[in-house]
Symmetry: C2
Subunit: 322 residues, 2 copies
């Protein structure tokens, strides 16, 4: 019978993670990491019940997976390799050891797959379930972390995966009460519940790109962030967007799919600006590793995001507090 | 008129913090830190409305201060110097720019005072206000991070400040509706609302102690954690506990004060095990820096925590989910 007090719940949570060799590891006031000669990338992000998921449409494994995945996506955008994570759990009354084990299982399966150590965390009572993860990643030696700044007019904008699927998946989950039926519906739901951070693509982009961002709030909004930081504009060509059969079939037409692709959040693919002379080599390097890379537009002078020749006038994507 | 969308709120929050020189800093997907030759200590902890504070008894500045302080206390216990923080805010609907500025102000004043940079964060909608902070600290060169393990029988247990005051402060806040009147009440309330992490004491202890822990859940429970990890026992002598006039006056008697000192949580003082031959030098080094250090017992063989000669049979202190 597992203990359900604070320390019992922590024990349940950490069980599925690979054991971290000392001096690292949970169970002390701090985790301790040996020095490294590589630059450290840091990120924190949370998933909160009722805001980012509902229990009706997400399993607790999904919640654990996604809480880590959304953080790893930012490491991917920096071209960094995941190293460690801290996890703060807010657990409502009535949370069982089984619940906590499920969250841990979902998170550990992603953490173990990408060689990341859970080095510490915290559990607290809370009104609703929340999982706040902080991650550290290391930039490969002799490289510089990618950021939003650095894109230059003439650079080609390249996306590393399908757009709009996670937003369509959210609609599918709402419409089906969390039980997608067709294989297309299941694919879209998976994009929403189990996004796979594009870490391998980020590592390749680190060699070629001038700037990079992950698509968490919606393509137009996130390209806008990249442009703002780089002091450039962008011209996107929706005809070049990669569109999955699942999304096309769900949307009914390419035009309707485009709306989801432009503003749908949570895809956690990467958009990078790549100097034109390096694009061919990049596409070859990505193909060699069986990774997706599709040119979808270019970086321009000015400060506007232009879509299919017209300045974007619609909403940019998801914003909290709007 | 400040913007109250997601990005406006972030701008309000970061304003009072010292600007972080690139390549660090908020505003990109990740913060990026240059390599350092010092070991890195990591910690995450959260303060949540209704669990750790109420708006009636805490100002939002208090909340910002405390969310960072509880994390820094763990760095203090490791003998590390604060370097950076990440902050994830969960903000209920109706949160204003002024609210967010107040949280930022409370946190920044502590961060700036101890030379820590806010390097990134995240804001999200939430049902109740929560502030989840992750911190990184660096161990001084040629030192090893202090931990809970390493205490040896015969070591002297030393505490770095008053015990039981934060718990008494919580009672004062409840009894006065958040408006302490006498100077004693105000002192106790301050211990609860604005704990000062014992960073300077931790740095001195790093030179002398064999093990260390911060008192967050209550002395007996936290000494128990240290004993468990070090595979030792402890004998505490309540007559040697430092007791403030404020606590004594509130409790009415030394015996009643002792109960609060043994099990009251959130004091965020440090308890360290110090090899007996080094105690005199430690006390001298602490006094030289005007820091408190009081021997309150010793490390023993076995696994029990003994208080005034009797094995402890009461509850250990604060536990979530009990």
């Amino acid at each position: 019978m597992p203990r359900t007090d604070e320390f019992g719940l922590i024990a349940e949570f950490v069980k599925p993670f690979k054991k971290v060799p000392p001096p690292r590891g949970p169970g002390d006031d701090c985790a301790v990491l040996e020095p490294t000669e590589r630059a450290l990338c840091l990120k924190t992000d949370a998933v909160i019940e009722g805001v980012h998921f509902t229990r009706k449409t997400f399993s607790l494994e999904d919640v654990g997976h996604k809480a880590l995945a959304v953080n790893l996506s930012d490491l991917a955008a920096a071209g960094a390799e995941p190293s460690w994570a801290l996890c703060a759990l807010g657990l409502p009354a009535g949370t069982t050891a089984k619940d906590v084990r499920a969250i841990g299982r979902g998170m550990a399966s992603l953490a173990n797959a990408c060689g990341l150590d859970l080095v510490g965390g915290n559990v607290s009572r809370a009104d609703v379930l929340s999982v706040t993860v902080s991650v550290g990643g290391l930039v490969p030696e002799d490289r510089v972390a990618l950021g939003r700044g650095g894109a230059k007019p003439g650079d080609v904008l390249v996306v590393t995966g399908g757009l709009g699927e996670a937003a369509a998946g959210l609609a599918v989950l709402a419409a089906t009460g969390g039980r997608p039926r067709s294989s297309n519906e299941k694919k879209l739901a998976r994009a929403q519940r189990r996004p796979e951070p594009h870490l391998a693509a980020g590592l390749v982009l680190g060699e070629y790109a001038s700037a990079c961002i992950d698509v968490s709030d919606g393509l137009v909004q996130d390209v806008g962030h990249l442009c703002e930081r780089s002091k450039v504009g962008a011209a996107l060509d929706t005809r070049r967007f990669p569109v999955s059969e699942a999304l096309l079939s769900w949307a009914g037409s390419r035009a309707k799919a485009a709306a989801s692709m432009l503003t749908g959040g949570e895809d956690y693919v990467l958009v990078a600006a790549v100097p034109e002379p390096r694009v061919t080599s990049l596409l070859r390097a990505m193909a060699k590793e069986a990774l997706v890379a599709v040119p979808i537009g270019e970086v321009t002078r000015g400060a506007k995001v232009v879509v299919d020749g017209r300045p974007w006038a619609g909403k940019g994507g998801y914003r909290h507090f709007e």
